[in-house]
């Protein structure tokens, strides 16, 4: 291995601290909740969208709203802000559930959303100490209901007696009753949060009663319960999304629980529209404008993270334009440009650092593109023509290589654009 030089030492410690502080503010993979709590998020970026979501969920019990958007567009942040609004109102108990934290989403099936909701409800019940208003007898019933929810969610293992006249085996002596031939077997019933997840309508009916008992208790303190499901947008295939959501959301509507959920972008187009009709409202979290003359919003996102000292105006504008208005890309570019400046020994972020970061991001988008996709992007760039209903184009939208600014304005991601116009880009 080649010998590496020692990392930079004093007097660069101050420089290092300065860069570290900058990088801390630009972490594209930091949990969205942390970014909100640290005051790094501009809360009114999408025209009070989170407040609209929260208000409807609060005012219309049982309503179901979806938030669809591209990868890195800020869906989780908006859902968390909606949760914050609901808390601030004080009348509603919002339950935020990142379903990817609960289970293996790829094996998710009908019943899993209800299972996760049930577990969170039981947890909230304990935390809020709603038990205070219950008699001992009622609490025993509630405990039974909690057990049923846990079994539904996590599964159960029990011993069952199996008659077996062919191979007689007397039961233990201390048991009462006449000896019968047979033996015990251990039966495990899988829970809804462990794969595999059989889709059984009967199971969903079974969970209705214990859930209702907890909801009644919760409604003694709050007007209503709102459940917020994050992570469902990962189910890019509509069939899978609908298989997971259909029965569970119907059951939640019956329970008068309002639902906010992230949804895949594909729900806005083609066959997705039919599924969208099952919801009271589907919001599209659109890509923010990134034309040089409309950069105020994106620049304000950077300013919220206090970068003026490290990042000059020209560099910031270039980052905004190259991000295409995709929030995660904006943060990624700002971070990577800072990283390049630090590694190159500069005290400030220069345009060449920004360009290097843009090139890296663009290359990331370029990798893996096939000839069909390159052709579609090339056509989009040359003619502006783009049919989001075609499978190739839908994939380009979902993967963020093509961006939608309005129903008639689609464009190639600006970091990718210069690379697809090069002849060598024709290879995957």
């Amino acid at each position: 291995m080649p010998e590496s030089p020692a990392p930079p030492k004093q007097p660069v410690a101050t420089r290092r601290e300065k860069f570290r502080a900058y990088m801390k503010n630009f972490n594209p993979t930091a949990p969205a909740r942390d970014a909100i709590d640290s005051g790094l998020v501009l809360e009114d970026l999408h025209n009070s969208l989170s407040r609209s979501l929260a208000a409807r969920a609060d005012l219309e019990p049982g309503s179901q709203q979806l938030l669809a958007g591209g990868i890195g567009s800020g869906k989780t942040t908006e859902l968390l802000l909606a949760e914050k609004s609901l808390y601030a109102e004080g009348n509603t108990a919002p339950l935020f559930i990142d379903i990817t934290a609960e289970t293996d989403l790829s094996g998710l099936d009908s019943g899993a959303l209800l299972a996760a909701f049930g577990l969170h409800l039981v947890r909230a019940f304990r935390q809020e100490q709603l038990q205070a208003g219950f008699s001992g007898e009622q609490l025993a019933e509630v405990k039974k209901a909690a057990n049923r929810i846990r079994e539904f969610s996590l599964g159960k293992t029990e011993s069952r007696w199996v008659d077996d006249y062919d191979y007689y085996e007397p039961p233990p002596e201390e048991e009462d009753g006449p000896p019968e031939p047979g033996h015990y077997i251990t039966v495990h019933t899988p829970g809804k949060l462990q794969p595999p997840f059989p889709a059984l309508q009967r199971d969903i009916q079974q969970i209705h009663e214990p859930l209702e008992m907890f909801l009644t208790a919760a409604r003694k303190l709050f007007h209503d319960v709102v459940v917020i499901f994050d992570g469902l947008d990962r189910l890019i295939g509509l069939e899978k999304f609908w298989a997971v959501a259909h029965q569970d959301l119907r059951a939640l509507r019956k329970l008068q629980v309002s639902v906010l959920a992230a949804a895949p972008l594909s729900i806005l187009y083609g066959a997705g529209r039919q599924i969208a009709e099952n919801f009271d409202r589907v919001y599209h979290l659109q890509t923010l404008a990134a034309e040089p003359e409309k950069l105020a919003v994106l620049k304000s996102v950077l300013e919220q993270r206090s970068v003026t000292e490290m990042l000059g105006s020209q560099q910031a504008e270039r980052i905004c334009v190259a991000s295409g208005g995709v929030l995660r890309d904006l943060i990624t570019l700002a971070r990577d440009a800072g990283e390049e400046a630090y590694i190159s020994g500069s005290d400030q972020i220069r345009l060449e650092d920004v360009e290097k970061a843009v090139g890296q991001l663009g290359t990331g988008y370029l990798r893996g593109l096939g000839p069909g996709q390159l052709k579609a992007l090339s056509t989009l760039n040359k003619t502006g023509s783009f049919d989001p209903n075609s499978s190739v184009n839908m994939e380009l939208l979902v993967t963020g290589r093509a961006l939608e600014y309005s129903s008639t304005d689609f464009r190639v991601h600006p970091a990718l654009l210069p690379l697809i116009t090069k002849p060598e880009a024709r290879i995957a």
């Binding site: 030089p5 990392p7 972490n27 990142d98 293996d104 990577d336 090139g359």
Partner: protein, 195 residues
């Protein structure tokens, strides 16, 4: 286009040191790199960061097990290996569960060109987290010796009956088949920009 990194572990260590945790990146390594190279990378990275680096082989792990291992402990540096031969379904499944892999410490995907293609084609949510942090190991100055590189290039030339210049010309003309072997060939020629 990103340049090859002459001192991969050192540069990646510098970047990780600056980032605020939860940092995801990819090291793009040649297709048939030796285990020793991985150990060297781990050792060097560990020296620069002054913290242990854990290699986690995903071969045969269920997602539940993978998640559990990523979080035990959650804050160390993990290099994920064993993803190069993954199918579309495997990548899609991992992609759906991306947030389940989120952890405090840095996560490095140790991938060959075919592994990177799999990630970029079938795992858009993971790719979004990785962003532009795909760092190719330099064949000349990196973990593969010049002798190893030449031997590998000769193997390709003999097998496909093509010269290096022809492969570059075909890539530039867009006529090079997208098989992983050709991708590796380009990388070994220092033309990773054509991938």
């Amino acid at each position: 286009m990103p340049e090859f990194i002459a001192r991969p572990a050192y540069e990646i260590a510098l970047r990780l040191e600056m980032r605020d945790g939860c940092a995801w990146s990819v090291v793009l390594k040649p297709e048939d790199i030796s285990d020793t190279a991985l150990r060297d990378f781990e050792h060097e990275l560990s020296l620069h960061l002054e913290t242990p680096v854990r290699i986690l082989d995903v071969t045969g792990l269920s997602f539940v097990d993978l998640r559990q291992q990523l979080h035990t402990p959650p804050g160390d540096v993990v290099v994920l290996v064993g993803l190069d031969d993954w199918s579309r379904d495997s990548w899609t499944s991992l992609d759906i569960n991306r947030d389940g892999m989120a952890r405090e410490g840095p996560l490095i995907f140790w991938l060959s060109p075919s592994g990177v293609l799999g990630l970029c084609r079938h795992a858009p949510n993971i790719r979004s987290f990785v962003g532009g942090s795909i760092f190719p190991l330099g064949p000349e100055k990196g973990v593969m010796s010049e002798e190893e590189r030449q031997r590998r290039l000769e193997q390709f030339a003999g097998h496909f009956q093509l010269r290096n210049e022809q492969v570059i010309q075909m890539a530039e003309a867009g006529t090079l088949p997208p098989e992983p072997e050709f991708v590796e060939w380009l990388v070994l020629l220092g033309r990773g920009d054509l991938v």
